[in-house]
Amino acid sequence: MTRKERLELIDRYKNGRLEGLALQRFERQLETDEALRKDFRLDKELSEAMNESSDYNLFKELVGEAEDNYFGENPRDQWNMSRVAAIISFFLISSITIWWFATRDLTPDQRFEKAFTAYKAPANFRGSELANMDDDFMLGLIKYEKAEYRESIRLFEMASSKDQTNFTARFLLAMSHMSLRQFAEAKPILEILSADDDHLFQDPVRWYLGLLYLADGDESNDSLSRALFDRIENKEYKEMVRSLR
């Protein structure tokens, strides 16, 4: 038997497609055929190691959470974190100051180019979330991460048309449009999201919609942009607004 044949046979066994004699034969072969036994074990371990929903990987996430909890509570580590945060803040403020001096005379378009960075796609989904995740949405995330925005637009459109409560899909759809400078398409999506309190993208939506208003060439929208920026609560986004001003 070649390796390909062995792997196919193992797959048929795993998918419950071996019955009666074939099943009996496979189980007997597992006892006697060393190569099959080795491949069977390797296949089993590979599936468990690589499948995000396997008990092994789900448990790993739980251990990661416990570690975060432990170090989040540990005062000495909190102090260390504060030091790191202070250093990062110093560099951030310095960079923002330099950036402000470098961009203060730019046009709205140039400002947009400087200020816009596509929202980072969420990557740390739990195993259970992955298992229930819509295929289009999952593929959309992959394309979005790879900055293949035309494809991510197509996939997020399908995902959000199936489930209007998939706010991540809708938000990332708008992000994909913005990344391609398709403001007319991104605007209505962000405006609807901006009026909806049922999602966790409140501040990102305010920031990106505000930015879009500044860049759309319509000066009457500048006041809308200011109003959105004023409602931002997240420190990081506030800082971004401050540097923009």
């Binding site: 390797l42 371990e45 190691a49 739980l62 570690e67 909890n69 298992a131 295929d135 992959i142």
Partner: protein
């Protein structure tokens, strides 16, 4: 005396049951009670706090694999078991990078070494598989990831833009064979399976 023993036994059983079912409360408790002990061991043996974090996490993964075995029975205190597994992992890591003597306590030698070896090796193999997986071409990684996460072959065919389901299947086996080849050709793999 008997009462104390029973209480201790119950305590250990609760930890094992909690680990088996992945109870957050148990995991938080294990970190709180035992991480400082493991950290001390690693620091005393030329490691850092980050090393301790890695080793502790790996030890938890190795222990999870043993406790989920239906025949598993804890024959010592959980603390001793965790210490032994962590020491074993750290010893292996030091041996891989820089040979040195370890300051260990005698309790390491007292408990089922074979069982611990198996658990540690299996955990190391899983980490190794994930490392080798990243050496595959991006297309193969995408394809195998989708298969391993249970996505339907038809959907994979459509989404990866392959010509037919038969071709997707063919590619799947090519990628899988490629991955197995990468694994088997690496001398590290022979070390990870050699004690079986």
């Amino acid at each position: 005396m008997l009462k104390i023993e029973l209480i201790n036994r119950h305590r250990e059983d609760t930890i094992v049951d909690g680990l088996r079912s992945g109870k957050k409360k148990t995991l938080n408790r294990i970190y709180k009670e035992y991480f400082p002990v493991i950290k001390d061991h690693i620091l005393k043996n030329s490691g850092s706090v980050d090393d301790a974090k890695d080793v502790f996490q790996d030890a938890m993964m190795a222990i999870f694999q043993t406790v989920t075995d239906k025949d598993f029975e804890l024959t010592c205190q959980f603390k001793t078991y965790l210490y032994s597994v962590s020491a074993k992992i750290w010893k292996k890591r030091l041996r891989d990078h820089r040979p040195t003597d370890l300051h260990t306590t005698s309790k390491i030698e007292q408990i089922a070494q074979e069982e611990i070896d198996d658990a540690v090796m299996k955990m190391e193999r899983y980490k190794f598989y994930r490392k080798k997986f990243t050496e595959l071409s991006e297309k193969c990684q995408q394809l195998l990831k989708m298969f391993l996460n249970g996505m339907d072959t038809k959907r994979i065919t459509e989404n990866l833009g392959f010509a037919s389901i038969a071709y997707t299947k063919k590619r799947k086996y090519q990628c899988k064979e490629g991955l197995i080849r990468l694994i088997e050709q690496d001398p590290e793999y022979q070390l990870l399976v050699s004690h079986d």
